[in-house]
């Protein structure tokens, strides 16, 4: 196991995702053969590494650490400029000095999940056995595998118990898994816009995305990196389809309506006449420049396989039996991907388990993406929940 400080990874134009894969612009923790990652699929991943960012200062009692778990398209760059896109961190609205998760008070950890493409071991990482990128030779990973790897990082940082574990969507799944796997290590769990299992509809959307990638001839059975190629079209289409599911009908209407893109009238062609088409194409293109197609396959699969109750005899409440962790769940009214009903299902299980749980449904027309956007009510409950947890454990 070894640390390396922020290193400069050359970004190679023809394979952008590889740029951060082995030597990211992040702290990296490397686990050698003596510390393999046990996998749900059977076997181990070894050696492997985790890329992470930290913000703020760990206090002497090591009691003010908050772990942020990212969603499908996120990474460890929670609150700093992204090294590939140059854009602000994906949760700078929520995390930072004076923000609801206040880095002046808390030690905040962002990590890239295993299976990702921003420096934690994933399909674009070099396979030491072959010297080439893993591609599909990487074993299938689960949410629980991701969390197990995070726990090894938290161990390394010398943190016995996290003040809070926070995340939305796939990040929320990790939060639930943390609370189920390591109840004594999580004082407060904050799963946002998530579910205890992926629905058939959501699996179906993911399958569309995967098929788009795999139908791209440049995917080359997952070996595109070795061939210096990239299934750009397929990944872009996958992102376009997924992006629709992150928004709501009303937010799409409010943003674009039926407005035309830089033109007076219809062109009677298949050009991007409508603003919404142009927007989706841009979203798809921008994603391809920072994300690895195989990572997209692995991470969507991990979400599909997530069914927390199934690991506990089919009874979700059993996942939280006798837990002392305090929970707060949040859903958004217009989120049709991870609905209020999904959150309430978790709340009922926590009630049945006797766990202290709060729940709020935030009014928003921004769909699933609302958890990443400027939502004052959401910020208010986040600040309230985190600060109350900090008071309870004596963090100033």
């Amino acid at each position: 196991m070894s640390d390396s400080d922020t290193t400069s990874g050359e970004i190679r134009a023809f394979e952008p995702a590889r740029g951060e894969a082995d030597h990211p612009h992040s702290a990296v923790l490397r686990f050698g053969a003596d510390m393999p990652l046990q996998l749900d699929a059977g076997g181990v991943l070894t050696p492997f590494q985790i890329a992470y960012q930290t913000y703020g200062t760990l206090n002497a009692a090591r009691s003010n650490a908050i772990l942020i778990c990212h969603a499908l398209s996120g990474d460890q760059h929670v609150a700093n400029v992204h090294p590939v896109t140059g854009k602000p961190g994906w949760w700078e609205t929520l995390v930072g000095p004076g923000k609801p998760i206040d880095t002046d008070r808390y030690f905040v950890i962002g990590t890239n999940v295993v299976g990702g493409c921003m420096g934690s071991t994933g399909p674009s990482s070099l396979n030491p056995a072959t010297g080439a990128p893993y591609g599909l030779d990487l074993p299938i990973l689960t949410i629980r595998d991701m969390v197990r790897a995070q726990a090894m990082l938290v161990d390394h940082l010398g943190i016995e118990r996290l003040l809070a574990v926070v995340g939305g969507s796939m990040g929320g799944m990790q939060v639930l898994q943390w609370a189920a796997s390591y109840p004594e290590r999580v004082f407060a769990a904050f799963p946002i816009a998530t579910a205890a299992r992926h629905s058939a509809q959501n699996i179906a959307f993911h399958e569309v995305g995967r098929q788009a990638i795999m139908a791209d001839p440049e995917w080359r059975a997952g070996r595109y990196l070795a061939d210096a190629s990239s299934p750009r079209r397929g990944l872009a289409v996958a992102r376009m389809a997924a992006h629709i599911t992150y928004m709501s009908d009303s937010s799409l209407h409010r943003k674009f309506g039926r407005r035309l893109q830089d033109r007076e009238g219809r062109t009677f062609s298949f050009d991007a006449d409508f603003q919404v088409e142009s927007y989706l194409r841009y979203q798809g293109e921008a994603f391809v420049d920072r994300f690895d197609a195989n990572s997209y396959l692995y991470m969507t699969r991990a979400m599909d396989y997530f069914d927390l109750a199934a690991d506990y005899g089919g009874v979700l409440a059993n996942a939280f039996k006798a837990t002392k962790t305090r929970f707060c769940l949040v859903s958004f009214t217009s989120d049709w991907l991870f609905t209020t009903a999904d959150s309430r299902n978790i709340v009922h299980a926590l009630n049945a388990a006797g766990a202290p749980v709060s729940f709020a449904e935030i009014e928003s027309d921004k769909g699933h993406d609302a958890f990443l956007l400027d939502e004052p009510e959401f910020f208010a409950i986040t600040r309230g929940f985190i600060d109350a947890a900090a008071r309870a454990v004596g963090v100033n």
Binding site: R344, V357, F359, E377, A380
Partner: protein, 227 residues
């Protein structure tokens, strides 16, 4: 036990409670202090319609209770969460069904039963989810209400109940006697009952229900599941 006996029993404890209340001088509502006093220390409590969490915090800090809330408004939930309380945004008329049997020692419904769509169902659920229920409500049999209706011929509107008939959330008003009938109907036992007069003090006479029904502006009942 007759109301007369209940009142005698209450007098002893409640004189003390009111003194405590005065000492506390925390600005807490009198009916909330009265409810808190009815709850055995260290119990598991569910407060339905927990508002900003005032009663929950009172129960947690002064009675050492594991106190949880259900609250309809998100503002209320946010306020409760910021106090470090466990509050779920939800609707008593629907969400009580999702709680397991015997999850709590007490389920509290403070000044809210008149705003539920299904008061009887709610009361039954309370006594399923908890072994005891505490219900406080405004008494529509209070003499001023009766006088108001008699003299003015209009739906009464008071300081505590300032709404007009068409914009009130209070859709199921009852009197103390009506409530006692409902308690009978759902087969619950009355362990204690206190009527509070207009100044928020317990009605200090050992009198039959009919008199309480006149003099009490509001009432607090501690109920238990029979059998």
């Amino acid at each position: 036990m007759s109301p007369r006996d209940l009142a005698i029993k209450d007098l002893k404890t409640h004189d003390l409670t009111m003194r405590e209340a005065a000492r506390a001088s925390s600005g807490a509502r009198v009916d909330l202090l009265l409810i808190a006093e009815m709850v055995r220390p260290g119990s598991r409590v569910l407060d339905i319609g927990s508002g900003d969490g005032e009663l929950l915090e009172l129960l947690a800090t002064t009675r050492g209770c594991d106190a949880r809330g259900i609250e309809l408004s998100r503002e209320g939930v946010n306020a409760g969460v910021a106090r470090g309380l466990a509050v779920i945004q939800g609707d008593a008329d629907i969400d009580l069904a999702d709680y397991p049997d015997n999850a709590f020692d007490y389920v509290i419904l403070s000044q809210t039963i008149q705003a539920t769509r299904r008061p009887k169902w709610v009361l039954e659920q309370m006594l399923r989810v908890g072994s005891r229920a505490i219900v406080s409500f405004p008494n529509f049999g209070f003499w001023r209400m009766r006088l108001d209706l008699l003299v003015n011929g209009k739906m009464p509107s008071t300081e505590n109940l300032p709404y007009r008939w068409h914009d009130t959330p209070n859709i199921h008003f009852c009197t103390i006697r009506d409530f006692v009938d409902l308690v009978d109907e759902v087969g619950a036992g009355i362990e204690r009952a206190v009527a509070l007069d207009a100044s928020g003090h317990p009605v200090r006479f050992n009198l039959p229900w009919a008199v309480w029904n006149l003099l009490g502006e509001q009432a607090v009942f501690l109920l238990s599941r029979k059998g």
